[in-house]
């Protein structure tokens, strides 16, 4: 089967509404990852994120007739996921501190990066070491929620600025500002920790090969 682009999404939806309900499985499949990770970012709990992800998929199915086609299907699905996630958060009444204290883009945070005199690239193969993945996950989880949500959709799910803005209900400018801050905060947290994962070389001081 070819990857469902916007046109084939519309075709899927038409046929599902006409009675071929089983096709919904394929329609929703490409959205599973971003749904789950967005919800994990909002809820910070794997079991809750999975449960709300299922609720979201069901809600999408039941509301399929309301999809207008003026945005990408995935964007529409993610805005439903976000609403469901925020609804669950209210129900749990455990709004985390960071979603309150980092609620705006106006605050003048300190975005001075970690200063290094040299950087040895950490190759993707270093991810074979489990502790590297753990350090990276913790750093992303430690970001304020509004930055984490944007980073998850932009850098981890590789969505574009426009789609991310629609899915999160914010402006494209806010996406760029938040992404910049997310990356700067991650660099500051991670750069000092990642040195040990870079390939070994002789000498200590920043000479490049």
């Amino acid at each position: 089967m070819t990857a469902p682009g916007p046109e084939s999404d519309a075709e899927y939806i038409r046929r599902i509404m006409a009675g071929e309900r089983h096709l919904f499985h394929e329609l929703i499949r490409p959205c599973e990852r971003p749904i789950y990770f967005l919800l994990l970012s909002i809820l910070k709990n794997e079991a809750e994120a999975e449960d709300v992800a299922q609720e979201t998929a069901i809600k999408v199915f039941l509301n399929l007739r309301n999809f207008r086609g003026d945005s990408q299907f995935r964007t529409w699905v993610l805005s439903i996921a976000r609403n469901e996630g925020l609804g669950r958060l209210r129900k749990l009444a455990v709004r985390r501190e960071d979603s309150l204290d980092a609620g705006t883009d106006e605050q003048t945070g300190d975005y001075t990066p970690a200063i290094l005199t040299s950087w040895r690239e950490v190759p993707a193969e270093a991810l074979e070491r489990k502790e590297l993945g753990e350090i990276l996950r913790q750093a992303v989880e430690g970001l304020p929620e509004i930055y984490r949500n944007v980073m998850l959709l932009r850098d981890i799910e590789e969505m574009d600025v426009r789609e991310t803005a629609h899915a999160l209900g914010i402006s494209e400018g806010a996406v760029k500002v938040r992404l910049h801050r997310a990356r700067a905060l991650l660099q500051r947290t991670l750069a000092p920790q990642l040195g040990e994962f870079a390939p070994k070389r002789k000498g200590w001081f920043g000479r490049r090969a």
Binding site: A57, I58, P113, A126, V140, I156, R183, L190
Partner: protein
């Protein structure tokens, strides 16, 4: 115009995404050639972004997809029954 380090840092993310205008980009490039600190900031930021985007870092929980589709199956069946 010569730009300083702080100025370069404020454009790191846009620079990585290729969203900086040509003129400013040239200034940043020129700065990077001589500034070891900003080069390291850029390289490390880019490296961090690449690493967190690796599929091995954020994986769906085992069985997530199976459980989702099983629940959907029950729901689709229900919808079928009610018309």
């Amino acid at each position: 115009m010569r730009i300083d380090c702080q100025h370069v840092w404020s454009y790191i993310s846009a620079y990585i995404d290729g969203e900086v205008e040509a003129e400013l980009r040239a200034e940043i490039d020129q700065h990077l050639e001589t500034c070891e600190i900003c080069s390291a900031v850029l390289d490390s930021t880019r490296n961090v972004v690449v690493l967190v985007a690796d599929d091995r870092v954020f994986e769906l929980p085992a069985g997530f997809s199976r459980r989702l589709h099983e629940r959907l199956d029950r729901e689709l069946e229900l919808a079928g029954g009610s018309g």
